[in-house]
Symmetry: C2
Subunit: 387 residues, 2 copies
């Protein structure tokens, strides 16, 4: 086991109708609120009106139109400007991971005098950030329980994971009923994103009985509950369990004390969605089984055996490579079964920019330090195998 | 899934030599320290000297001699007095769960003008508490990651679990090497305590795939690693994994969203160790299989099947009562195999006060609200079966 230093100061308020506690929670932080959201789905489900109704005594400034793969320009820059102009006390992010990720960058930028990109690109360490409260409407990223966000800068094809302990949300509201209207496509992509968060941590040199069992349970929970959610989008129990399983995804709690993995699939997928703006969870689902095949070797085979036997129930008496290959195929088949397009070409990516993307990943993501190191050549091979 | 509201503000600093960070951590809270500890084992392992060496610039007042099943009088009362007299800024608890539990009651009492028993007995809600830093030297209670402590008041045979969110330690240092010298008896009792924390949460009406897998992994981790620790007390990996598995015990993270269980074994054991001052983990181990037998019924059998199949690998094709009975026997056999005396008579308890203890539990522990309600008669039966 590795040494670690862990703390999550976020309060999770979970369950049906939990946002009735919103006024009491918001009052702790002040009266001037930046309300951030995306494209209007929160209006469709009545959540926008509900929030306004709950907060009649607050001064609310709005930033809407935050996109998936949230953009530095205009969203982060606009948000920072609004915070400064209106002397905002607290950000209330309502939506999925993208809205919350964007809000985290805004929270740090609002307390910084220079160009917020200095912070996101780690040129300058933030000294403070506005408090963030969120109401999450998508089970996927786990941003509601982690200190990071991913921000895209279109002109440079940068997609950066910006992480700082200052960015833990103060309070996250998780009402599974707000995920009832999430589309089949986004439900599946959210499941794949969360599964990948677990897999990225599972495949490492050194884990424990405790963490392995926790992560295997997380993967089984996501697979079983995603299918239930797709069959019956209003299955409260399935939506609720998916939500909590996703929430732990990037919090480190699944793997405290494990050796570092390097999060290779996220490193590679960032390029795909930076260059092509595809759905993050779909990009991850497409890459993951190809990455698995690429790294299968004597060094990694035992880990794949554990994964195959405990997650998919593959017969443990088989040859270890046979188990590993069956496990990789089962991973692919599961993603396919929930409707994810499993080839890059199906999401509009062809071979034309693979070399460029592989070069970008190799230069920026540090995957030479992953559990199984990935160099530019490896990354290009994985992309090509994913076509 | 049930609604919940969860937050753990404790920072965990985990691993070999982690206490080199102690000075930096303590500085955040002030210079006047109440150092609390037990009977001197921290001197034997050099930890007392190490702490003193690390904190030359701090004013340290000491409270030593805190006993297992820590006492209101003199320990809590003496500690509160020392804090008030010396205007203490922070408590540094060094030892096992008893030292930390006692320190929590002191932390609250130090900020209260009246009799600290008002707080512990929930007559008055604490408004503030001193910050607590701990260095834990025993893998058992999980007090280092929870907001509660158990305090005994000898003259009334009260043993009360005092819980308040103000009592989360600010920082817990967990260096597994400090548990290398823990005796076989205490290693086994710590394992039983932590296993029982998980079982208390596992046996309930409504759980999830995620929580069940997490808890089953916790139980397996404890059983496998306890055996390794008993064979080789300096097995770092086994001590480390036991330590973290124990740490989660009473934090609620193992079972967020589960329906309440009522913690019946703890309710019953509190009387045993209040009346007879036995080792808490041993008391729990003795009661647990008898309680399991007592509550086995059509209502609970499926839960025992899951437990038996997933924790002990019992053949799932057997009849469900057969699986349940095998699981209960396996629980008993495991405790016996790690050297725990499995009869109350072996720890000095005979039938003479069973009725009195059962009455005390029925009056004070609310076990009529447990998942399987326990009335005075049930409690007496479980005690009698444990003789």
């Amino acid at each position: 086991m590795q040494n670690f230093d862990y703390m999550t100061p976020t309060r999770l308020i979970f369950g049906k109708n939990c946002i009735t506690q919103l006024p009491e929670v918001m009052t702790q932080f002040g009266r001037k609120v930046l309300l951030t959201y995306g494209g209007g789905s929160i209006k469709k489900i009545g959540l926008y009106d509900k929030v306004k109704e709950l907060l009649p005594d607050f001064e609310i400034v709005e930033l809407s139109g935050i996109q998936p793969n949230p953009k530095y320009d205009p969203s982060v820059l606009d948000g920072v400007k609004l915070c400064k102009e209106n002397d905002i006390d607290v950000i209330l992010a309502v939506g999925g991971g993208s809205v919350l990720d964007c809000s985290k960058a805004i929270a740090a930028g609002a307390k910084y005098d220079g160009d917020p990109w200095d912070l996101i690109s780690y040129k300058v360490k933030a000294k403070a950030a506005l408090p963030i409260v969120d109401i999450i409407t998508l089970a996927a990223t786990g941003s509601e329980y982690d200190p990071g966000g991913v921000i895209s800068r279109t002109e440079t094809n940068d997609k950066i994971g910006y992480v700082d302990p200052l960015l833990y949300p103060a309070v996250s509201f998780l009402d599974p009923t707000y995920t009832f209207t999430v589309s089949k496509k986004q439900t599946a992509a959210g499941c794949a994103d969360a599964m990948n968060h677990i897999m990225e941590q599972y495949f490492c040199e050194d884990s424990t009985i405790l963490n392995d069992g926790f992560m295997e349970a997380g993967l089984k929970s996501l697979m079983i509950n995603a299918k239930k959610c797709l069959e019956n989008p209003e299955d409260y129990t399935a939506r609720a369990e998916m939500m909590l399983t996703c929430t732990y995804g990037c919090n480190r709690i699944y793997a405290l004390g494990n050796s570092p993995s390097g999060w290779p699939c996220h490193g590679m997928e960032h390029a795909l969605s930076a260059y092509y703006d595809i759905t993050h969870g779909e990009g991850l689902a497409i890459i993951t089984p190809r990455w698995m095949k690429h790294i299968l070797s004597d060094k990694t085979a035992d880990r794949f055996v554990k994964y195959g036997v405990n997650v998919f129930g593959i017969d443990s008496s088989l040859d270890k490579y046979e188990i590993a290959e069956k496990a990789i195929q089962a991973t692919y088949d599961f993603f396919l079964s929930i409707g994810i397009p499993m080839h890059l070409k199906e999401v509009g990516i062809d071979e034309s920019r693979i070399e460029e993307m592989a070069h970008h990943v190799a230069e920026n993501e540090g995957l030479e330090n992953a559990w199984v190191p990935l160099l530019e050549k490896d990354i290009a091979e994985i992309f090509t195998a994913s076509l």
